[in-house]
């Protein structure tokens, strides 16, 4: 604590330790990745540097006697509705360093959350509800292009019908959830093992993100969608053929219009091999794909990928939710994508400039409604499936997304939370105390792949079950019957214009 600068004294958290309860086991010293705790041998006591605390709560969670608690620093600047403590501290930090502020995870700022203004329907008396415990209930989802019409032929002797129309490749999901694209490098291999194993167990999909697919995970191919981003990390002909689908990453909700830098110190042997980049050098994803400057160029990359995989995989295009999302999505559909993935502005990131994360993009709810409506109006909704991510916090949010028109949901932040994340938002430091967004072997082993996989499976089972209950309550026995069925949604506390954009009626109407 000696010689700290003035700015350092405006720390965010206070570490409180009950000396009478502390048994000097030093778990806190070993567990803290930020060197907050220190043991003083001569005094046989523990001390702490509050200025280093990031509020991850690893120490308080693991302290065996509950001697530690972490609090927000109550010592505050003079109350000011315009200049928050965060604004003031950010200005100090930038005045010191001249640098861009970094941030991680999704936009935490106080913008409206439309999920909280939408309510679901249920059956009463007529069209009675269905009990999912005793009756079949379907959540299975197919992602990919659907034909404009289908032709059925009947066998002359047996009379059995069969489909004559040749369908393009589809992704089959037993639950409408995908473990969202979080690259190997941003997350460590233990987390990727967990997501891949959970996807296999659940019969759903795990998205590799842009950091390639580790050689140990090729065996999960049936449950993998591989991502191709502007840095082309780990992209090869084997990689493209390794999964059941391919995703072109154009944008990310947390940082629309921005590329990514995985810092060189995070690029170890395994990451170098998987990303196919030099050891220790920055992995730079340029903001645009430098071969894509138009819808026609996007079409070229989509078909280059289809040619490379002999038209056996659906191709998804991931875009961030931005102002002209409906027109962009229409272009993407016409460029030949089989799936459009829309990432809302609450979507997470391992690292993004804070000013981008907190100020760029639009809510996924509005983007989804706009895209679904636009594609329907143009008569091309069947040509693409829509996957959405960025701000789905529960099965309630998820099922509202389905009713607004989504085919499936990307689980990003919820996946991390299930693996132990406490949303301290310091992923970019590479020192995640919960062992998730770190490649430091000492920290990374804190995630046990088997246990983490089990938690992911549990979460999706739970959400799936809740969705079935909600569906049953509405008298529906298949998720497909709710897809894009906005009649099952009602709005509370929204403006006329909001309701118009969302395509929902007010509650009571």
């Amino acid at each position: 604590m000696l010689y700290k600068s003035v700015n350092e004294s405006f720390n965010e958290f206070i570490v409180e330790r009950k000396d009478t309860t502390c048994i000097r086991c030093k778990v806190c010293v070993r567990q803290c990745a930020y060197d907050v705790h220190r043991y003083i041998e001569s005094e046989d006591c523990l001390t702490e540097d509050h200025t280093l605390c990031i509020g991850c709560r690893r120490c308080s969670a693991l302290c065996p006697t509950g001697a530690i608690s972490i609090h927000l620093n109550q010592e505050a600047f003079k109350k000011n509705e315009s200049w928050s403590t965060a604004h003031i501290r950010n200005v100090y930090a930038q005045a010191d360093s001249g640098g861009i502020l970094l941030a991680a995870m999704g936009n935490p700022a106080k913008y409206p959350i439309y999920w909280d203004h939408l309510l679901l329907d249920a059956s009463q008396v007529t069209n009675p509800s269905i009990d999912p415990l005793r009756e079949p209930m379907e959540l299975r989802t197919y992602l990919g292009k659907k034909p404009d019409n289908i032709e059925v032929v009947y066998d002359k002797t047996t009379g059995k019908p069969s489909l004559k129309t040749k369908l393009t490749p589809q992704l089959k999901l037993e639950y409408p959830f995908i473990f969202s694209a979080m690259s190997y490098g941003a997350l460590n291999l233990n987390c990727h093992r967990a997501m891949a194993a959970a996807a296999e167990e659940l019969g759903t999909i795990y998205n590799t993100g842009e950091g390639g697919l580790h050689k140990d995970l090729y065996r999960y191919g049936k449950n993998v969608i591989v991502q191709v981003a502007s840095g082309r990390f780990g992209v090869s002909e084997q990689y493209l053929n390794a999964g059941v689908g391919i995703e072109i990453k154009i944008g990310q909700g947390a940082k629309p219009g921005i590329g990514g830098h995985l810092p060189g110190e995070k690029v170890d042997d395994q990451i170098s091999e998987t990303r196919m980049i030099p050891f220790g050098s920055d992995a730079i994803s340029p903001a645009p794909h430098h071969d894509i400057y138009s819808i026609e160029d996007l079409r070229q990359l989509i078909y280059a990928l289809k040619e490379a995989t002999n038209y056996t995989k659906p191709v998804s295009v991931k875009i961030a939710a931005v102002h002209h999302i409906a027109a962009i999505a229409s272009g993407v559909a016409r460029a030949g994508a089989d799936i459009i993935t829309i990432d809302g502005f609450r979507g997470g990131t391992g690292a993004a400039p804070q000013v981008i994360r907190d100020n760029v993009g639009i809510p996924m709810e509005l983007a989804l409604a706009a895209v679904d409506s636009r594609l329907r109006d143009e008569g091309i909704r069947n040509q693409v499936s829509i996957v959405v991510g960025g701000g789905v916090r529960s099965s309630g949010d998820a099922i509202k997304a389905i009713a607004l028109g989504a085919d499936a949901i990307n689980m990003g932040t919820s996946t991390l939370l299930a693996m132990g994340c406490t949303l301290c938002q310091r992923c970019y430091t590479g020192k995640c105390p919960w062992g998730i967004t770190t490649n430091n072997p000492y920290l990374a082993k804190r995630v046990n792949p088997e246990l983490a996989a089990e938690k992911l499976v549990n979460l999706v089972h739970a959400w799936g079950h809740e969705m079935k209950e909600i569906l049953g309550g509405m008298g529906l026995n298949a998720l497909e019957s709710l897809r894009g069925n906005r009649y099952k949604l009602r709005a509370v506390g929204l403006s006329e214009k909001d309701m118009y954009l969302l395509g929902v009626m007010p509650a009571g109407e």
Partner: protein
């Protein structure tokens, strides 16, 4: 095996090529190629394809080990994310060549367009090489992270044009660019610097030029009689100091 590409849709042409490769054909000659996209896309067998005509964009994309010889000019995006193999173009070629390429060689006899060698990278024993015999457009070697780019400035359809454009090596953080006869330093990006070649460089250049000359029936001494310079990134981490950590 010969395929007449006259009037063939790219999808049909490429399917015929894939089927031929699957059935074990080692050499394929395509006649009357006229802008068909994606030829050699994702090919992972050591076959040789000779293209008579001008192939379309994304030639040899994601290619892994095949050889493609183009007897005339070629277009954009050659060797997009190519892993291994070789592309030889006897004429000039377009923009964004060797995007994300991490192995194999691309030899262009004449001029190349913009953003050539963008984000090329090497790892382990993989080291991509792209050689352009003529002039190059802007953003040569942009974001380059590994491998070798060589620009000769000798065999151009527009010899009055400058050897290279602006923002040469912008964002470069790995690999090396060799340029015959020096570079225009006023057009270099801030991330790179110019250095004299050493004996090791000369050895590499000689080896790469001898293969290049063999492909085009050129005399290496005519090329090697002029001095080369090398352009290197100043840092492996050009953007390492751009960020301010969040306040503690």
């Amino acid at each position: 095996m010969k395929i007449n590409a006259q009037g063939l849709y790219y999808r049909d042409l490429n399917e015929r090529i894939r089927n031929a490769v699957e059935s074990g054909t080692n050499t394929i000659e395509l006649d009357n190629v006229n802008g068909q996209y994606f030829i050699g896309d994702g090919l992972n067998k050591p076959v040789t394809i000779t293209i008579n005509g001008v192939p379309g964009n994304d030639l040899a994309a994601f290619m892994n080990g095949a050889t493609i010889i183009v007897t005339e000019n070629a277009q954009d995006n050659i060797g997009n994310t190519m892993n291994a193999g070789k592309v030889v173009v006897h004429g000039h070629a377009g923009d964004v060549l060797g995007y994300g390429m991490r192995g194999g060689r691309i030899h262009i006899r004449k001029d190349v367009g913009y953003r050539v060698g963008i984000h090329m990278k090497s790892y382990q024993e993989n080291k991509p090489v792209l050689i352009a015999g003529g002039n190059a457009g802007d953003f040569f070697g942009e974001y380059m992270a590994g491998g070798v780019l060589i620009l000769l400035g000798m065999f151009s359809d527009n010899p009055e044009k400058d050897k290279h454009g602006f923002l040469f090596g912008t964002g470069m953080h790995g690999g090396v660019i060799y340029v015959r006869g020096g570079v225009d330093e006023s057009r270099l990006a801030k991330e790179v610097g110019v250095f004299e070649v050493d004996d090791e460089d000369r050895k590499n250049i000689n080896e790469m030029m001898s293969e290049y000359c063999k492909d085009f029936g050129l005399d290496p001494t005519v090329i090697l009689n002029e001095r080369f310079v090398k352009v290197l990134p100043r840092s492996k981490r050009p953007y390492g100091n751009m960020y301010c950590p969040m306040p503690k």
